[in-house]
Amino acid sequence: AQSVSQHNHHVILSEAASLELGCNYSYGGTVNLFWYVQYPGQHLQLLLKYFSGDPLVKGIKGFEAEFIKSKFSFNLRKPSVQWSDTAEYFCAVSIAGGFKTIFGAGTRLFVKA
């Protein structure tokens, strides 16, 4: 069965530290890839997406993600986090065969001021 794995459930960083959140999926066909973010008290919202083309995609608030097809990975990165990045981050994979979207379990990030 298709699945999405996020490696870390909880991450604690100090401001200005670099961030990398891992995401791996299990599906060999065509996929669209997403990172969503949920700030405290807010809706889930799109952070960035990959459909095709340059595997390095940039999103809002200085986030970027790299699609590595051979590793079935779509890791999220930010060179310098801020306190306002405290949120829960979800990786999601939309599978062309069946039009399913599968979400990872999420990573809760806490940034210390």
Binding site: H43, A96, G106
Partner: protein, 113 residues
């Protein structure tokens, strides 16, 4: 642009009672999703609509859950009767097309006592 609207935001009911959730998607979005989100987990699809047709309801517990999207716009998700294990957040999302980015509502937090 108005976002996805859900109501109610919170609902507390006793087990065996019925409950209904309502969702109005973003105008022009043909695809509507209902998700279940348990604490510490990512959203799990219950049902996906393309216009008024339920095209993926494989994860919907049909003995107690039902959904409708009669005119291809707003949608209602019902549970009857509710069980203790149904306590969760019920999310509605919409997208222009399947596989595209999804826009989420605020969710309904259901507590079954």
């Amino acid at each position: 642009e108005a976002g996805v609207v859900q109501s109610p935001r919170y609902k507390i009911i006793e087990k065996k009672q019925p409950v209904a959730f309502w969702c109005n998607p973003i105008s022009g979005h043909n695809t509507l999703y209902w998700y279940l989100q348990n604490l510490g987990q990512g959203p799990e699809l219950l049902i996906r609509y393309e216009n008024e047709e339920a095209v993926d309801d494989s994860q919907l517990p049909k003995d107690r859950f039902s959904a409708e999207r009669l005119k291809g716009v707003d949608s209602t998700l019902k549970i009857q009767p509710a069980e203790l294990g149904d306590s969760a957040v019920y999310l509605c999302a919409s997208s222009f097309r399947p596989l595209y980015e999804q826009y989420f509502g605020p969710g309904t937090r259901l507590t079954v006592t």
